[in-house]
């Protein structure tokens, strides 16, 4: 651990802003939305005070924010933005545009319910509904992880030329104050050198982007996008290992908590994992061999890692703080897909827990886990 590291009390949002500041982005287009607004406010304060030398744009909508991000990135600038919920929804057209343009933009999304009706609570349907847009997706559990992940996200994005979205739950992470280690600038500069892409928009080079392509060119382009995605688990793991070597903090692309000898494993994303840890401790104390598998990298889904982590496990309980009407919990579906065809695959149960931001206590999770061991498996996710 570096001696020059400072320790501060930060919310998840402010930790994101600190991460962004340390990454030295050159262009930051951004639009306010609850509960992301403190990210925007702190970044603009940094800039006003001279701590962040970036071009700030505050256009009329998130659609224009992402529209501005893409060619700024293609011109060769490092680009950061942040949004939540409706803002992410409004960007949808341009999320595809960004990955198609292979623009390594990093965006923080604060997971909040999507309207209608209007609500402001933690719920991951907003980002999970973007799973097919070609963005790498990471989910974090704490303010510290949020800060570290912003920096890792740029490493990943620029290594594979894909945009990266890091997701933090509304309020539980975005607004909760925690002690956070803020690494020194020199450490970050060594970890994340200035962005220097091979291709960029410049009159001296004459390269263009977006012109109409043939069927075959389009197909090849999509295929290469898929190949870049396929490299992400290894690239992300390496970015995390290097970060750990520098700071002592590593998060993994997945994390196994007390999974040794577990016959029941809880699987979830984001802040739910913090509560699930407590439930696992309680279950272990009660003599039940339970563990937690936290999925930090959700897109691409690290299927090989998940299969390895769950090999030999009898029961899996997926907790989804999101809802895809007609399909159920998104992580539940995805995990079943990843385990399909695996020899002696575990029984996978899905529970819609915490949808709309309702509180899910450690006791509730422990109760659900006990039920999972005795009740018959059903293919659909059930409402907690």
């Amino acid at each position: 651990m570096s001696a020059a590291e400072t320790r501060s009390l930060l919310t998840g949002n402010h930790a994101v802003a600190w991460g962004a500041r340390l990454a030295r982005p050159k262009v930051v287009p951004v639009y306010p939305i609850t509960p992301q607004t403190p990210v925007l406010e702190l970044l603009t304060e940094f800039q006003a005070a001279g701590g962040l030398d970036a071009e700030f744009l505050t256009p009329e909508s998130e659609h224009s924010v992402m529209a501005a991000c893409i060619p700024a990135s293609l011109a060769g600038a490092r680009v950061f933005t942040a949004t939540a919920s409706q803002g992410l929804m409004l960007m949808h057209e341009l999320l595809h545009y960004a990955s198609g343009a292979r623009a390594p933009i990093v965006m923080a999304n604060v997971n909040r319910t999507v309207a209608s009706p209007w609500a402001f609570w933690p719920d991951q349907t907003d980002s999970l509904a973007q799973r097919d847009t070609g963005w790498v997706q990471l989910y974090v559990e704490s303010a510290q992880e949020a800060l570290d992940t912003v920096l890792q996200a740029f490493r990943i994005a620029e290594a594979v030329s894909l945009p990266v979205m890091l997701n933090l739950d509304a309020f539980y992470v975005s607004h909760a104050l925690e002690p956070v280690h803020v690494p020194p600038q020199a450490l970050v500069d060594a970890y994340l050198p200035a962005y220097a892409p091979e291709h960029f928009l410049d009159p001296e080079r004459g390269e263009s982007w977006g012109n109409v392509v043939t069927q075959d060119m389009y197909r090849r382009h999509r295929k290469s996008l898929g190949e870049a995605m396929a490299r992400v688990p290894e690239v992300a793991a390496e970015a995390d290992r290097e970060w750990q070597a520098l700071t002592g903090r590593g998060w993994g692309i997945t994390e196994r908590y007390r999974c040794e000898g577990a016959d029941l494993v809880i699987v979830s994303l984001g802040s739910m994992c913090g509560t699930a840890r407590e439930a696992v401790d309680a279950l272990r104390e009660a003599g039940i061999a339970a563990g937690l598998l936290k999925v930090r990298l959700f897109r691409p889904l690290p299927a090989a890692e998940l299969r390895a982590a769950l090999a030999g496990v009898r029961d899996v309980l997926v907790l989804d703080r999101n809802f895809s009407p007609g399909a159920g919990g998104v992580l539940h579906q995805e995990l079943r897909g990843a385990l399909y065809g695996m020899k002696h695959a575990p029984d996978v149960r899905g529970v819609l827990a915490g949808v709309g931001g309702v509180n899910v206590s450690a006791a509730m999770i422990a109760e659900l886990a006990r039920g999972a061991r005795i009740e018959d498996i059903v293919p659909e996710a059930v409402w907690a």
Partner: protein, 284 residues
Amino acid sequence: MGLMTDLLCSGHAACPGCVEALSLRHVLGALGPDTVAVIPPSCLAIMAGPQPLSGLRIPVYQPALATSAASASGLRRALDALGKKDTQVVVFAGDGGTYDIGFQALSSAAERNENILYVCFDNEGYMNTGAQKSSSTPHFARTGSTPAGKPTRKKNLTAIMAAHEIPYAATASSGFLPDLLRKVEKARAIRGMRLITLLVPCLDGWGVPEDQGIALARLAVQTGVFPLYEVEDGYRFTLNEPHKSRPVRDYLEGQRRYRELDEGVVATLQREVDEGWARLLARL
């Protein structure tokens, strides 16, 4: 025309005789090579060509239809951050991409006074999708989505943009080339948001013969249907030559989009043009 180098290559895929392609070539020539263009879906994007070819000898970024002004803003800021402050960022967009779906982003970029030159190639309809109306389509003109004639009047983009008090807003016509080139050169030298609304007859969409495009672009000005003027900082109006000197009927004849207009409609259009002209004179 000393700057005229061919930055638009031959062999682009616009309709034969397309006035828009001709105007694009001249506008590019006046801008010069230290320019990056933002071209949303439109006939202009067809001229920019299919990958891996490009019809333009400058870099082109083709954004989503609603996003030209926002994309140009992001590009501008990135070039600024990278120390390329003298490179021009120019938008070449159609009227649909400007008056309609891209308008919110354009208004915002104007309010922020982004340092971009926005040239709207106004052919008064969605031509790339087969000639449907836009909010730039004039009163009574028939289009694919207004088969009985458009029931409402053309939106006044230049006036709306001037009302944002941007440094420069002007109209131009492909029928008056020296005036157009002077305006491009003038706009090029100004910093901040600049708009040129360039009237370009569409042969196909307006229903005019291949050799009549330029003549119509001139008639639109001579009849006062599309006056040439400049507005600096939102209030300094300059009226450019030529002024209104002919009846609107001379312009309507020979365009299939105005076929079968009865006398009452022609009189209505004449009254609208006369009133518009008087309002413009009052602002000088």
